[in-house]
Amino acid sequence: MKSDPRSRRPTNTKGWAVCWSVKKSEVEALLAEEKWTLDPEHSIPHHPAYVSDRGELLFVSASGKGLLYASRQELMEKSAARASEPQPQHVLEGNLPQGPHFIEAVPSLIDELARILKVPRESLDCSFDSLYLVEKALKKIRPKRRILEIPNLFPGLIAYAGEVLRKATGGEWFLTEVGGSIYEPYIRHGPGGRYMNPWLELYKSITEPGGISLHVIVSAELPHPDDLKPRVIAENEEPNDDYEFYMEYVEGPKGGAYRPAMRRRTK
């Protein structure tokens, strides 16, 4: 094998079983070099898993890429331990310790944000352009899930994104108590009580693949001028029954898939 994935730095998160992302060519080389047997417990259709004689586990995707675990046994133990952990019921659970006092804590959280991100406090002027500066500083935190682990970083980001929204709209902070003593902070604007959520998409961008576009998240929350008017949503007066939508099967280079299609309805 040209490059052994085991010689690289593992790609797993802290506390998880040791594993390496493996390219398609490396998967082929691994399967050719050693003796692997199919692991039915971890295989799913189109995505097989193999166990080697020395106890490694190799997940192979439909596209041919893979994930190599150093030890199947270790993976099983970690999975069992994870399954016994309590599951969060809300994205803010354990991530916003300020709870009912969050609004009062907003100024100090922004001060702390500047300190954690090592940006001048005066540069956090609640302008949209300042969000780019925060994004740039966040890129230095790797893996990005650490953002949730550094004390008061995630609450600081919520506080700052909310302040940008508040400054832009003239709205006010607003807390909603949900089950389990969790308080959801919003910015409320306008007579219709338009809510802006500075935390949900932020959390998703931290915990899902892809970058964190704080600027996009905040601008998507801003009310459009037309949001202050009743929104135009109308039931279909005359549904067009001549045509129907369906999903047609297509064969692509990487296998079959269904795509939306349209055809004349057969009477």
């Binding site: 995505h47 439909a62 999975s79 969060p88 803010l92 907003v106 100024p107 006010e172 607003f174 296998g255």
Partner: protein
Amino acid sequence: MHRYSGGATTTWRAFARFVMFAFGWVVLVVSTTGCIVDDMPALTDMVTTAKLREYYGNPNNYTGITYNQAVGLQFQRDVLGALPGPRVLQSNRKPFTSGERERRSGRFRSVIPDGVTGAVEGFHGSLHPVISTHPESTFVEVKAVKGVVNLEYAQYQILGMLDALSKSPAAFSTGPDRAYPSLYFVVCGDTTIGTDIGDVAASRNILVWVSSVVDHGGGKLQVHRPWCMNCGAVLQGKQLPAPTLDGPSFYVQKLRASGDRGLDKPILDDGLVGHPGTPGNTRPH
């Protein structure tokens, strides 16, 4: 030799004249009837990612992935408010743990579907009408993606959803009128759904639904009634769900420009950065 060559030229000229004459008729017929193929829709079509970009605009001059995120986020917000059915679905705020996703990706331990709702015994549609008997058993995922969404999409996000749904309350429903968990995609015209999703979902008794979004022109969109991808496999020997209605039509708005709020200039009472507004205000939603 010369005469033969001239005859061939004449024949070619006559043939070219015939082709041009026939082409003229085709153009005339197409321009008057509006279509050439019987199955080609004349007025409506599905919205594509390119068309969405056109409707939403790009006032902030985003590029690449950032712009995709901006369009996807706005599309998600618009669609969740106009799904087929009587209710407006709120954004989901709960992460659902998936051991299978964590094992396959090595990093991502949960999924956060765009929308979550329940399932009902005896009802095999995509979105239940009013009251559900099995909460958190239907996931809604809005995808404005040009290309294939399959199990390994976004670090096995879809596999994670199927894994979480296989542990949802509806997954443990039994009896002839049992409830089924559902994964409901709302997609663009250029989004395709991999067959591996339907296969794995069917093996776990999870229904997969797909709705495309219809483009009525001028920014007016509509979520079409859902199509079941694997009902034939999951509901074997049972009556297949009756077709539901389309969602209400809605107009999309341009993305917000960061320089111009489009709102009146805010009047802040403090002029200070970080003023907390109304401390301790905990009025309910």
